[in-house]
C-alpha cells in the first residue's frame, strides 16, 4: 500500500467527509514538497461540518535519511503533539489556527493534525484583498502577551491564515514553540532567515550558537516584532520588493520607490517604521506602530512617519531616462534570467521549472564564479524552495571559496552550516 492509500484507509471516514487529498502542485511547504506529509481538505463532521485542512505527517522509517529523521522522526512528532497540547491549554489563548484533532493514526505511523481551513495571507495579498486593516490585526493579534510564553519561528504570509470569521492566526503549527523558562528549545532551525536585516539575523545567530540551538526569549521578541512588522507592511502595501540581497537601507528605499504615487505616504510610513530594526536591530514597538498606522488610516497626523529616508535632503543620483543596456555577457545572461526570478518569487514556477532554473544557475556559477548575485539566487532556490540541505551546503562552500569577503555569502554559509548540523 502507498502512504496515500494507508492514509485514506486509516482516516475514520465517519469523522471526515468529502475528503480531497491535495496533489503536489496544490500543496505548499517543505513537508509536502519532500513527501514528508500528505495534505488534504475535508469536512469535519464532528465539528458541525466545518471546512478542515488535514496534515498527515508520515513518521520517518528506520531506513530514512538523517534529514528526514530530523524533520519527521517519531520523537519529533511526539514533541509536536505535546507542544500543541500545551498551547491549547495556554491562557491567554495563542492565536493559532483551531486544531480540531491531533493524534497518531491507527494502522499508519503518522501524525494527523486537523485544523480549521483558512486562507493564507499570501493568497489574500496575491489577490489584492489585503490592506492596512489587516495589517493592524497582524500587529495587534499575533504577538505573545509576554515574550517567554511562546514563539513562532517561521513567520511569513504563507504561515498566517485568515479565518472565516476574519481573524488572523498562525497556521504552520510545527513552528510554534512553547517557552521553557526564558528559552525556546528549537527542534528545527528552519525559518525564513532571508527575511531579516543583518543586525537582527546576527543577534539570532549568536544567540543560537551560544545556547546550542535554543533561543532566548529576549532575542525571540526582537525577531518576532520584526517578523510581524514586515508581514503587516506586506499586507498594508499589498506586496513588498523582492529581498534580493537582503533587507537593507536600499531595500527600504525600494519599498518607497516601487509603489504608486498614492501609496507613497503608506510606504514611507513602513520604511520609517522598519528602519530602526534594519539599521541597528532595535526591537520594534508593535503597539506604537499599530497606533500610528491607525492614525494614518484615519487621516490623523503621525509623528513617526515623517520621512522615508534619513538623508532625504541629500541629492539623489540622476535617474537615467532609459535603463542602461547590458554591457557584459554576465549582464545579458543575468537579465535573461529575470522573468524566471520574478516568477519564482511569485510562486508561479512549477516544480519542474524550478529544477530547470536551478540547472541554469548551476551552469552560470561555473562561468561567473565571482558574481555574488548568481550564487545568491542559486542558494535561494536550494534553501527556500527546494529545502535541499546537502546541495545548499555544497554550493555555499563553493561560493565561500570564490567570494570569501562577501558578507551575504558568509551569512548564508552560517545558516546552512547550522541547518546541516541539526
Amino acid at each position: 500500500m502507498t502512504p496515500l492509500e494507508k492514509f485514506v484507509a486509516s482516516l475514520p471516514a465517519g469523522e471526515w467527509g468529502a475528503l480531497r487529498v491535495l496533489n503536489k502542485s496544490e500543496g505548499d511547504g517543505v513537508m509536502a514538497d519532500r513527501d514528508w506529509a500528505l495534505l488534504a481538505e475535508a469536512t469535519a463532521l464532528r465539528h458541525g461540518g466545518r471546512d478542515a485542512f488535514l496534515k498527515c505527517i508520515v513518521a520517518a522509517s528506520n531506513s530514512a535519511g538523517d534529514q528526514t529523521h530530523a524533520m519527521t522522526g517519531r520523537q519529533r512528532l511526539e514533541r509536536v503533539r505535546e507542544r500543541l497540547g500545551a498551547i491549547a491549554r495556554m491562557s491567554p489563548t495563542v492565536p493559532l489556527v483551531e486544531i480540531l484533532e491531533c493524534r497518531f493514526l491507527d494502522g499508519f505511523d503518522a501524525l494527523l493534525i486537523a485544523m480549521e481551513r483558512v486562507t493564507t495571507l499570501h493568497t489574500v495579498i496575491e489577490e489584492q484583498r489585503a490592506g492596512s486593516e489587516l495589517a493592524l490585526q497582524v500587529l495587534r493579534r499575533l504577538a505573545p502577551a509576554s515574550p517567554e510564553l511562546w514563539h513562532h519561528l517561521d513567520v511569513c504570509p504563507k504561515n498566517i491564515g485568515l479565518t472565516k470569521s476574519g481573524a488572523v492566526v498562525y497556521i504552520d503549527v510545527e513552528s510554534m514553540y512553547v517557552g521553557v523558562g526564558t528559552m525556546f528549545e528549537l527542534s528545527n532551525l528552519f525559518g525564513k532567515w532571508f527575511r531579516f536585516p543583518d543586525p537582527i539575523y546576527s543577534s539570532i545567530r549568536d544567540d543560537l550558537q551560544r545556547n546550542r540551538n535554543c533561543m532566548t526569549a529576549g532575542v525571540g521578541a526582537v525577531k518576532q516584532a520584526f517578523d510581524l512588522a514586515l508581514v503587516a507592511a506586506e499586507c498594508s502595501l499589498q506586496g513588498i520588493p523582492p529581498f534580493g540581497s537582503g533587507i537593507t537601507e536600499a531595500w527600504l528605499q525600494a519599498l518607497v520607490d516601487d509603489v504608486e504615487e498614492d501609496k507613497k505616504p503608506l510606504a514611507e510610513f513602513w520604511a520609517h517604521g522598519l528602519r530602526p530594526a534594519v539599521a541597528s536591530g532595535t526591537a520594534l514597538d508593535l503597539k506604537k506602530l499599530a497606533d500610528d498606522l491607525a492614525n494614518l488610516i484615519a487621516g490623523k497626523p503621525v509623528t513617526t512617519a515623517s520621512s522615508s529616508h534619513p538623508k532625504d535632503s541629500a541629492p539623489k543620483p540622476p535617474t537615467p531616462a532609459t535603463p542602461a543596456t547590458p554591457v557584459t555577457d554576465f549582464d545579458r545572461d543575468w537579465n535573461s534570467l529575470q522573468p524566471k526570478a520574478r516568477a519564482l518569487r511569485r510562486d508561479a514556477l512549477p516544480r519542474t521549472e524550478i529544477e530547470q532554473y536551478r540547472g541554469e544557475l548551476t551552469a552560470l556559477v561555473q562561468r561567473y564564479a565571482h558574481e555574488a548575485k548568481i550564487w545568491d539566487e542559486l542558494l535561494l532556490i536550494l534553501i527556500s524552495y527546494q529545502r535541499d540541505r546537502d546541495g545548499a551546503l555544497r554550493v555555499v562552500r563553493a561560493a565561500r571559496e570564490q567570494l570569501p569577503q562577501d558578507a551575504n555569502i558568509k551569512r548564508m554559509c552560517e545558516i546552512v552550516t547550522m541547518w546541516a548540523a541539526q
Binding site: 485514506v8 484507509a9 465517519g14 469523522e15 463532521l45 464532528r46 461540518g49
Partner: protein, 309 residues
C-alpha cells in the same frame, strides 16, 4: 440545574444501510454503526434496533427525491430521551439506489429546553446522513473495512450544541407535544411506521395513514397544535400553580404580563396564505366544473324552463 443543561448535550449516533456485511452475514439492510452495541433495554435505541419493518418503510422511499427525503422528520420520545431519524439516498457498488438512515438519540429533560435538543439532534442526523450518503456511495472497500473494524467513527457520541437547526418549527412542535400525554413520537406521514403515533401533516393524511401504524393524532401545521384522533392522547393536567410567597409589589403588578397564547409564528403566515389560496382555487375549480356541466346539460337537453313548457 438540569442534567441536560445547554452546552453539555451529546447525541449517540447510529447508521444503517445495505451493501456491506457488518452486523449481519449478508449485504441486506442492517446496522453499520455501532458495530457492537448493547443499547439500554427499553431505550429508544433498543426499540429502533429491534425494529423489523425496515423493508416496508424503505420501499416507498427509493422513489423519493433527495429533497423529499431530506424533508422527512421523525422524532420518538420517551420519558428521558428523544431519538431522531434522517434518511438519504446513496448507491451501492452496482450503482443501484439505496437508502441509508442515521439516528441520533439524546437525553432530554421535560422541564428543560427539549426543543433545543430535538432541533439540534435532528439537524445532526440530517447533516450526517447527507455526508455518509456520499461516503458509502459505490461501497468503497476502505469504508467497508472501517465499518467491520469499528473504526468508521472514533466515538459515536457527537456534541450537538454547535448544530444549526434546519427547521424553524421545533419550538411549536415540542410545545404541542408537551401538552399531551400518550405521545410516542411525531413523524412525517411516510415515517410514522417507526413508532410515532402523532403525524405531522393534515387530518386527511392522518386518516389515510395505515391503521396498523397506530396514529392517535396529528400535528396540524396550520394552527400549530396537536389534534387527537383517539382517546389515547389525553391532556396533561396542569400542575397547581404555587401561591406566591410574597404579595406582588404594586409596581410589579403593573408590568405587562406575557400573552397566554404564543404569538403567531410569522413564518407560518405564508403557509396559511398558500393553503387559503389553494382552498379558493379548489372552490373556483369546483364551481367551474358545475357551471360546465350545467351548460352541457342545457346544450343537450335544452333550457329546463322551456322543457317544462
Amino acid at each position: 440545574m438540569s442534567a441536560v443543561a445547554r452546552g453539555a448535550v451529546k447525541a449517540r449516533v447510529a447508521l444503517w444501510g445495505k451493501g456491506y456485511r457488518v452486523t449481519q452475514d449478508s449485504e441486506e439492510f442492517q446496522r453499520w454503526v455501532p458495530r457492537k452495541w448493547t443499547p439500554t433495554p427499553n431505550s429508544l435505541d433498543a426499540r429502533l434496533d429491534a425494529f423489523g419493518g425496515w423493508a416496508g418503510l424503505l420501499q416507498p422511499l427509493y422513489a423519493a427525491s433527495e429533497r423529499d427525503l431530506a424533508l422527512l422528520r421523525c422524532v420518538l420520545f420517551r420519558s428521558e430521551e428523544a431519538l431522531c431519524c434522517s434518511f438519504a439516498r446513496s448507491e451501492d457498488k452496482h450503482k443501484r439506489p439505496t437508502v441509508i438512515v442515521v439516528s441520533t438519540s439524546a437525553p432530554i429533560d421535560w422541564d428543560g429546553d427539549v426543543a433545543h435538543v430535538v432541533a439540534r439532534s435532528h439537524a445532526l442526523a440530517t447533516r450526517l446522513v447527507g455526508a455518509y450518503a456520499s461516503t458509502v456511495k459505490g461501497n468503497p472497500d476502505h469504508v467497508g473495512s472501517q465499518l467491520k473494524n469499528g473504526t468508521f467513527l472514533a466515538d459515536n457520541e457527537f456534541p450537538i450544541d454547535g448544530e444549526a437547526p434546519n427547521a424553524d418549527d421545533w419550538n411549536d412542535i415540542v410545545r404541542a407535544v408537551k401538552e399531551w400525554s400518550g405521545i410516542t413520537g411525531v413523524a412525517s406521514p411516510r415515517l410514522v411506521g417507526l413508532g410515532a403515533n402523532v403525524l405531522i401533516g393534515t387530518q386527511h393524511e392522518a386518516e389515510l395513514a395505515p391503521t396498523k401504524a397506530g396514529i392517535d393524532g396529528f400535528y396540524d401545521v396550520r394552527d400549530r397544535a396537536i389534534r387527537p384522533l383517539t382517546n389515547k392522547l389525553t391532556r396533561w393536567v396542569p400542575r397547581p400553580v404555587p401561591a406566591p410567597a410574597q404579595p406582588v409589589a404594586a409596581a410589579e403588578a403593573l408590568l405587562p404580563a406575557p400573552p397566554a397564547a404564543p404569538a403567531p409564528n410569522p413564518d407560518l403566515a405564508a403557509i396559511n396564505q398558500s393553503l387559503q389560496e389553494l382552498n379558493r382555487t379548489m372552490t373556483r375549480m369546483t364551481e367551474g366544473v358545475f357551471e360546465y356541466m350545467r351548460r352541457m346539460q342545457e346544450l343537450i337537453l335544452g333550457d329546463p324552463k322551456r322543457r317544462r313548457r
